[in-house]
């Protein structure tokens, strides 16, 4: 069944990725930054799957699956960090978390 | 055979580290291993064909065959003598450590044995990457030995030593990689010569720091003063010779063109080092300082001989490497013995040690007299050959060298009279003991080696190069006549 061409999928993927990038760059809450990261990853996943379908090979899908696994573990670490921050009653604002300044 | 020479001490180190044994046994086990190393070397000498040319006692196994890197070791006449020097000085140093006693003996003796293996490896390696690996492997035990068991200022000394050496080594690594890739092999025997000045300088820089040559000796006084005496003995006696060996085996043999081009600047640096070291030795306030700066001067002299580029220079340089190794080894151990008795090496607080301590006086006097190159001593023989050789590059070098003989007389006599003669120094307790049998057992063999060499210096000088024609041997890349480059394959 002929669906939309691969171009459309890629367009959506780009929009998703750009949204994510903007989110990471503009938002100050670490929670939202993490969320935006997830959106970026999913944008990339969409592109992978689209190409996979387009080329008729399974590699891209497998890769997308492993990206999901990585994303899940990353969220675990990230959320854990945020919870730890919250517990220490540190302001949840990435602009104020500058301890690593040289 | 060569592999056994390298890995006997390494396995000794593993033995000391891994096999459980009472602490008291550790030192004597290490001493046994290093004596076994000396015995093994004697066996190697017995089996060595001094008359024939080319690499001997060769072992070879492929390592990274794509890059033509192999585990390739073997000995030439001159490397055989340097290996012997290593075995003897390291055995004496381990013996000295046993007699003095060291904290954490397992770690200490293991490192000393590891160091032995690494140094022997440097002298035996016939593959540039292997050479580099051993060259760096020397640094690790030294880093720990100076940094952990050294004196009060050991941290600074270690840091300086390591930074200097690393800087040189990295340049050498770059040179090695470029040289190896351009030759298509990293093998020293198989590779041809190169005309690249930059590669030559990369090697020369590393060796000039390790030797050290003026003005790269910034690490020297601290390292020689702060390390324990036996480590200082190894540093100045043996490790510095690895640099001189590198000059001979790699810088000069592989880069004949650049060697010619840079001869003058290197001779100038060596001569400056010779005079400069001698003058500073004359004003150094402590025993180790005198020995350290005289080492700087001697390394300058050896470099003069190497870059004289003729038969006499090469023969003399090899002879002087062996001499100076034994001399400065013995002197540092003696300095250690004196420091143990008086808790200081400052010349102004020593004195009068000769009276009632005949063994100390005799040994120090004998070594000192050989160190100042009194004629008929082996050091005189070496200096004579070197200066007669470098005379052909210009009379000025020989005049400077002869002048430094006078300076050497001045600083050695100053050392001897400040320690042994004059009134009794403030730091010298009334009941200071003479050398004990254990210390004599270490020093007397060293002195005996020196005296034997004095009776027959030609044993080394005439048995170092193929057919006793050093210049020809070096120019042919130490190959037997007729032996051509074998593996000249390009990279895949």
């Amino acid at each position: 069944m002929p669906g939309p061409t691969v171009t459309w999928y890629l367009a959506v993927s780009v929009v998703l990725f750009a949204t994510g990038v903007l989110g990471v760059l503009l938002r100050r809450s670490p929670l939202i930054v993490l969320l935006s990261l997830e959106i970026m990853l999913n944008g990339a996943n969409l592109a992978l799957i689209a190409f996979s379908r387009y080329q008729g090979r399974g590699d891209g899908q497998i890769f997308a699956l492993s990206v999901m696994a990585v994303a899940a573990s990353e969220v675990v670490v990230g959320l854990g960090l945020i919870v730890a921050l919250a517990r220490r009653k540190v302001a949840l604002d990435v602009d104020k978390l500058t301890t690593l300044r040289g | 055979m060569t592999t056994a020479l390298i890995f006997l001490p390494v396995s000794g180190a593993l033995l000391v580290w891994l096999v459980p044994m009472p602490r008291a046994w550790v030192g004597s086990t290490a001493l046994l291993v290093s004596l076994a190393e000396v015995a093994l070397w004697i066996a190697a000498v017995a089996g060595f064909g001094f008359g024939s040319s080319g690499l001997q006692l060769e072992d070879r196994a492929s390592w990274f065959s794509d890059l033509h890197v192999s585990y390739h070791v073997g000995l030439y006449g001159f490397s055989l003598w340097l290996v012997g020097l290593t075995a003897v000085v390291l055995a004496a140093s381990v013996g000295y450590a046993c007699s003095a006693g060291r904290d954490r003996p397992r770690a200490y003796y293991g490192l000393m044995l590891l160091l032995t293996g690494a140094i022997v490896g440097v002298f035996a390696a016939q593959d540039l990457l292997l050479f580099y690996a051993f060259f760096e492997a020397m640094l690790i035990p030294l880093y720990v030995l100076v940094g952990v068991w050294g004196g009060a200022g050991r941290i600074d000394a270690t840091l300086k030593f390591v930074l200097y050496t690393m800087a040189g080594s990295l340049l050498m690594l770059a040179s090695i990689i470029v040289f190896g890739l351009s030759q298509g092999t990293f093998d020293l025997v198989d590779s041809g010569t190169s005309g690249s000045a930059w590669l030559f300088l990369g090697f020369a820089f590393a060796f000039a720091i390790k030797a050290p040559l003026f003005p790269f000796h910034g690490w020297l006084p601290d390292a020689y003063r702060e390390s324990s005496p036996e480590v200082a003995a190894v540093l100045s006696g043996v490790v510095s010779k690895a640099a001189a060996f590198g000059f001979l085996r790699i810088a000069i043999a592989k880069f004949p063109g650049p060697t010619d081009d840079f001869r003058l600047p290197i001779l100038v640096l060596a001569a400056i080092g010779l005079v400069y070291g001698s003058l500073l030795a004359f004003r150094a306030p402590d025993m180790r300082g005198v020995i350290a700066y005289s080492s700087l001067a001697q390394m300058g002299l050896i470099t003069l001989g190497l870059f004289a580029a003729n038969d006499l220079g090469f023969d003399g340089a090899v002879l002087q490497m062996v001499n100076h190794g034994l001399i400065s080894g013995a002197l540092f151990l003696l300095a250690g013995s004196v420091e143990r008795r008086t808790a200081t090496g400052e010349l102004s607080r020593l004195g009068g040690l000769a009276r009632g301590r005949p063994a100390l006086a005799t040994v120090l006097l004998t070594v000192g007299v050989i160190a100042l190159a009194v004629p008929l001593s082996s050091a005189f023989a070496g200096e004579f050959l070197i200066l007669a050789g470098v005379f052909r590059q210009g009379w000025i070098w020989a005049v400077l060298g002869a002048g430094s003989i006078v300076l050497a007389a001045m600083y050695v006599l100053r050392l001897i009279s400040a320690v042994l003669h004059r009134g009794v120094g403030r730091a010298v307790p009334e009941q200071t003991l003479d050398l004990r049998p254990a210390e004599l057992g270490i020093l007397v063999p060293l002195v005996a080696c020196l005296l034997a060499l004095s009776a027959w210096p030609a044993a080394v000088s005439e048995h170092s190069f193929a057919g006793d024609r050093p210049a020809r041997d070096v120019a042919s890349g130490f190959r037997a006549p007729g032996e051509e480059l074998t593996a000249k394959g390009a990279l895949p």
């Binding site: 602009d95 | 050959l385 006599l413 000088s461």
Partner: protein
């Protein structure tokens, strides 16, 4: 047979030295003395055997080279560990081991009771070995080896009394000045190696003939060798170490600084005469330095107050005669004077040693006097030595010294100048010798002498000391009779195959020189008697001259100014200006640089998460553009 005995001669003192050193406390003090004496006596016996062996051969076949093994080599150059037995070396072997064994025997008594007797005898044996190596060495390298070794043993023996700072300083001074001479000699050898490729005597001399046209090389070689000879023999301008060397025990002064080592320079000139003959200018220089030293040392000796220093200056002056002879090419006369000088100078030193021994170590002549009554036999021995030194017939000095002066007459105008200097020296010799004799032995015993003089069991000294002095007194008397110029010349004939003389004095020249020299010597003695014994004259008061002489012509001060202070200043300046910054600065500089670089890069590390993210995104964008556009 001949070479075997030569090896025995060479090695027996070395064996004794090693045995004493290794035995340590297991050998008694006395025993070490006997061992050393026996070994040196064995050397003498072996030397005699070699001498007799050579006597039995044709004059032109008297040369044997025996090589044990190759001592040093490199490339085509080789030097063997070899001994050469020829008339010259046997001559020196006999002098060294003969006088040596007498003096070592004397030391048995002199050093008795010193708690470091063993060390002394070990050093003495080492010295005799070194000196024999010097004279027996079969090539120039071994000669140089012996040359350095005698310097070393001289250093050890001068500084024997380790608690005396003056002794240590004197020992160091002697060694360093000699090292300077060694250095010039080494340079000469380098030149020879470069141009002839060998250091064997015969081959070097033969190939050097081919260099005759190359004036620079031959002159420099001769000059370098002369530098060594001058330093070792304490001639101008390297003479200042010898008087200080009198800090050593008296037998040492007698053996090393009178009889043997200091005359090595003469041996060197005679041995290497083919090289010197190629450079006549340098030969003349050697003779001139000798003549200058005769006068300079004679003048300084006039004002010395230490008995041993007077004898030391007279040694310098006498070696000046030998240099004069050797430099003129009158080799046999130089060597003959070396022989007689060894006898009478050793005698003077040993007799002075008896005096010093009896006065508990006092050496200042101003405190002595009147010893003639207390020590009559010593006085007699000293008188014999003095007469031989001044050159009064029939004592030995007469036969040897005057031939040298006569030889000077056969050397043109320059020769006349040298001759005049030599005659002036004869006058000075008479003056200072008898001044010393009268000050020490003449007049009434001084208070100091009366207080401190102690007889040794009713005798003037232990048997080992008095007996050797007696033997030397006999030798100093008859030792010169083996040659009378123009009439009876066994010494010249013996040395002829090795060193053909360049000058030949006529009978008339000999006679004139002899008469004048003896006359002037006696005149000097008479003046000394007039002033010091009869006390009819006064010492002239020339304060400036006196200070100049007492300061030894300011040589020490000049050398300090020219060599020592600049070296010390350079070394200090380098220490603070170069070494400090280089060693301390290198570490500090490295640290500073690293820290600075770190500070720069740290600026980029804002800590703002969003700026990092932006950097990443921006770099990605740039990379993407690059990839797309490059493809």
């Amino acid at each position: 047979m001949i070479t075997t005995s030569a090896w025995v001669c060479l090695l027996s003192p070395l064996v004794a030295c090693l045995a004493i050193a290794l035995a340590g406390n297991r050998i008694s003090r006395r025993g070490s003395g006997y061992l050393a004496t026996g070994a040196v006596a064995l050397s003498f016996a072996a030397a005699v055997v070699a001498f007799v062996g050579l006597l039995g051969e044709q004059p032109d076949e008297r040369s044997h080279l025996s090589t044990a093994w190759t001592w040093l080599g490199g490339g085509s150059y080789h030097s063997g560990l070899s001994v050469l037995v020829d008339p010259l070396s046997v001559f020196m072997m006999l002098v060294v081991s003969g006088v040596g064994s007498l003096i070592v025997a004397y030391s048995l008594g002199y050093m008795d009771g010193d708690d470091e007797e063993r060390r002394f005898f070990a050093y003495m044996a080492l010295f005799v070995f070194s000196m024999l190596l010097l004279v027996q060495g079969g090539n120039l390298l071994l000669l140089l080896a012996g040359w350095g070794m005698v310097g070393l043993s001289s250093y050890l023996l001068i500084g024997f009394n380790q608690r005396r700072p003056q002794a240590i300083a004197a020992a160091k001074k002697a060694f360093v000045m000699n090292a300077f001479g060694d250095a010039t000699m080494v340079l000469a050898l380098f030149l020879l190696v470069q141009h002839t490729g060998t250091l064997d005597f015969a081959a070097t001399f033969e190939r050097a003939q081919g260099l005759a046209s190359n004036h620079w090389v031959v002159n420099l070689v001769a000059l370098g060798l002369l530098g060594g000879a001058v330093a070792k023999s304490a001639q101008l301008p390297l003479q200042t170490w010898l008087p200080d060397a009198m800090e050593g025990p008296t037998p040492v002064s007698a053996l090393i600084h009178a009889a043997t080592m200091v005359t090595a320079g003469v041996y060197l000139i005679v041995r290497a005469h083919p090289l010197f003959e190629l450079a006549p200018t340098v030969e003349d220089l050697a003779a001139g330095l000798g003549a200058a030293t005769i006068l300079l040392a004679g003048l300084i000796a006039l004002v010395q107050t230490d008995v041993k220093r007077v004898i030391a200056y007279s040694t310098m002056s006498q070696i000046g005669y030998m240099f004069l002879g050797a430099g003129l090419g009158s080799y046999a006369n130089g060597m003959f004077h070396l022989l007689t000088h060894a006898f009478f100078k050793a005698l003077l030193f040993l007799a002075a040693g008896l005096v010093i021994h009896a006065l508990a170590g006092e050496q200042d002549m101003r405190r002595m006097g009147g010893l003639r009554r207390l020590m009559p036999r010593t006085w007699l021995a000293f008188l014999v030595g003095a007469l031989a030194l001044v050159g009064v017939p029939p004592f030995s000095g007469f036969f040897s010294k005057d031939s040298i002066l006569a030889a000077a007459l056969d050397h043109g105008t320059y020769g006349y100048v040298l001759w005049a200097a030599g005659l002036g020296g004869a006058l000075l010799t008479g003056l200072y010798t008898f001044r010393m004799l009268f000050l020490v032995f003449g007049g009434e015993p001084s208070p100091f002498v009366r207080e401190h003089h102690h007889a040794h069991e009713g005798k003037e000294g232990p048997l080992s000391m008095t007996a050797t002095v007696a033997v030397l007194a006999v030798l100093a008397t008859v030792g010169g009779w083996i040659q009378l110029a123009g009439v009876w010349t066994p010494v010249s004939d013996w040395l002829f195959p090795v060193a053909e003389p360049l000058v030949e004095a006529t009978g008339r020249q000999e006679a004139i020189s002899s008469v004048l020299a003896v006359g002037l010597g006696l005149l000097g003695a008479a003046i000394a008697w007039w002033i010091y014994a009869a006390r009819r004259g006064r010492v002239p008061r020339l304060r400036a001259v006196r200070t100049l002489l007492e300061r030894k012509f300011y040589f020490d001060e000049a050398y300090d100014l020219v060599f020592y202070w600049p070296a010390a200043a350079i070394s200090r300046a380098w220490g603070s200006l170069v070494e400090g910054p280089l060693v301390g600065g290198a570490g500090a500089g490295l640290g500073q640089a690293t820290r600075g670089a770190g500070r720069l890069t740290a600026r980029a590390q804002t800590g703002l998460l969003r700026s990092y993210a932006l950097a990443i995104a921006a770099s990605l964008a740039v990379l993407a553009v690059v990839f797309i556009s490059v493809r």
